[in-house]
């Protein structure tokens, strides 16, 4: 036992040291500087909780960014996962189109976000975009909706650049489904369960952990969305599509306020931890069935 402990220490030490230097030190700087006043050219001074108080009581842009981020987390953790899981259940039946659909559905996940942003800018372009052209063809009238810049449609347009593309969820669920023994399906069939009933009462409960994992991945991805928003709306019109990473970026690069940006970083990290723990709790992921 003591020998094993020695090996555990030997193998864990390099990783822990790397973590401490590369990650933990950054977190410490992030956290401590959130209680300071800090911008290029000014002295760093301790200001207590003033950054937190300012963000939650006076900074309307921050509140809106936090609100948008929360909405996107909820949408991603629900609709996105439902779409991915639903498709996985259909494709797992191994029909003639399964492989082709699975591959096509996964394409948005392998394209870089910046390229995807450009792609959507073209597709939704008010002058020559495919979406407007299609609507024009159907209605027979010129249609020039500016999807990304009209305050009425901007949030929906940005959401549509990631919400339906749940290829990763589909792949994860299909992989897990392949581990279900054929005997279980046969037993359900003998008991007279329909395909839908089998999926609902047998397959989905067995997929609980992987769906939980996919939900964590999908929800936390909303805490990192920056490039696609920057490519499409830069957080506008106004702050309708502003999320926390984009607002943090603006605080640093246009307002030169590093302390306030780091305070937002602490809140963003806390939101990530809360999201992770909530999903684990909802899915009871740490409990063995």
């Amino acid at each position: 036992m003591s020998k094993n402990r020695k090996w555990v220490v030997i193998f864990l030490t390099p990783g822990l040291l790397l973590f401490a230097f590369a990650f933990l030190s950054s977190v410490v700087v992030l956290f401590t500087s959130s209680f300071m006043s800090w911008s290029i050219g000014s002295d760093i001074s301790f200001t207590g909780l003033s950054n937190y108080i300012y963000l939650f009581t006076k900074d309307e842009g921050f509140i809106k960014s936090l609100y948008n981020t929360l909405i996107w987390i909820v949408l991603q953790a629900t609709l996105h996962v439902v779409i991915g899981t639903g498709l996985a259940l259909i494709l797992a039946k191994k029909r003639w189109y399964s492989n082709a659909v699975r591959t096509i559905f996964f394409i948005p996940n392998i394209i870089s976000s910046a390229a995807l942003g450009m792609l959507f800018l073209c597709i939704m372009n008010p002058q020559f975009g495919m979406v407007n052209n299609l609507i024009s063809k159907i209605t027979g009238e010129a249609f020039h909706q500016n999807w990304f810049m009209d305050p009425k449609t901007a949030f929906l347009a940005v959401t549509m650049t990631w919400l339906p593309y749940a290829g990763l969820v589909t792949i994860l669920v299909i992989a897990e489904m392949s581990s279900i023994s054929d005997e279980i399906y046969e037993a359900a069939k003998i008991d007279g369960a329909s395909s839908f009933q089998t999926d609902l009462y047998i397959v989905l409960p067995l997929m609980k952990n992987i769906i939980g994992t996919a939900t964590v991945l999908a929800a936390t991805s909303m805490l990192q969305k920056l490039d696609i928003i920057m490519m499409t709306t830069s957080g506008g019109p106004g702050d309708r599509t502003m999320n926390l990473p984009m607002y943090l970026y603006r605080t640093v690069f246009t307002n030169n306020d590093y302390a306030l940006a780091n305070t937002q970083g602490v809140i963003l990290s806390t939101l990530g931890i809360v999201t992770l723990l909530s999903i684990r709790m909802i899915y009871k992921m740490d409990k063995e069935e």
């Binding site: 090996w7 193998f11 305050p151 009425k152 901007a154 830069s234 690069f253």
Partner: protein, 456 residues
Amino acid sequence: MKIKLRKALALLVTLTLAASATACSKPSTQTKDSEVSSVSEDQASDAAEEVKEIKEPVEISYATFMVGAHASAAAEKEVIDAFNQEYEGKIKVVIEELPSDDAYVNKMKTLAASKSLPDVVMGKNGIRELAIANGQAVDILPFLTADADWSAYVGEGAIDYNKTDDGKLYSIANQQQLIGYFYNKDMFEKTGITPAKTWDEFMSNNEKLKAAGFTPLALMTGENAWTTNLWLAAMIGTDGETGKEFMNTTYPDTYNNTSVVNGLTMLQKCLQDYTTPDAIGAIYANAANNFLQENTAIIANGPWMCPDFSDVTKAKEGLQDRVGVALYPNNGIIAQYEVGYVLCTNGKSQEEQDAALEFLKFKTNKFAQGVFLEKAGALPLTPNVPISDEYKAANPIVADLIKLSGEAEYSFGNIDNNAYSSVVAEFSIRYPELAFNDITAEDMATSLTKAAELNK
């Protein structure tokens, strides 16, 4: 036995990984080895180093966004090539190319945070202020005063424009900006209009152009909302002495005034009725393309756009003959110097400082200003860099603009140079709201004031 073998193998793998990870420290190990070598070897090595140092050119760093399809890319390349040729073996410029103005500004701001700006940078959009704040920027004034030739080509106007409140000079331009607007003479003729003398006539012209089946204005609200903000600057800057004074104020703290609100109200109408459907959210390239392809009748921009009019890869054939230039209504013109180049060598070795200064002098000297005039339509800083009659004959639009500038009643700066970078960013996210009637001109002015307060 098997367990021991596994452990031994695991240890071997760990050691191999550790050895690989430390491989990068090899050079320092070699340095240590050399320390224990004989004295004679050290001396020989030192001598060789000295010879090497003499032969190796001093390296300086420079970042530029004037690359690729940028209007000034050809001029920039020619100037840098000429510098490298003249200083071959003495100074080597290591260039970092950034694909757009936005990418450039963001990268420089990131580097400013870690005090690692390149030796020479363009100080636009708040980069100069960050370089001053982080202590990298050098006061150029003593060097300019000591060099009469250089000082004569730069001129008092550009020097005074960029001086800070404490009388220091942290940046110097290589061109002056004279910005009116270009119009399509064919479209104007077909519509039966001439360049407007008043803002009422301007709006009436837009209406007539629209009725004649032409889209009047090439606007864009993405990036720094360049072409749109030129119109706003003109609307404010020609609104009497108050407006002119406001547009000649560097970094205004408040936008809640009648001139700004009136300008924004007029622009709201332009964004709604007199521009292309893609203008809201569009970048400069979209607006330029709309004018060059004759999709719109008017674009506000500087003379650096003129080479594009005759470039058939960008514009419709013969466009240069169909383009005219005009002053803004109420006889206004945007006339100011660029923020220009900043020398960021404070704290570096003397030879690096000297080399970077040489590069800065070269970038702003008579030759460079001449190249930028010829290749990029950028106007020189002083009459000491003359604009030849041949150039004027070959570039009648630029010649017309220079002539018109003498008739201007109001001259003022542009928003990109005068406003805080937080305000410039605010324009691009508020214009869509203004265009879609989501906010009023008064609301937008308040948002701009709030953005100015956020700048640190």
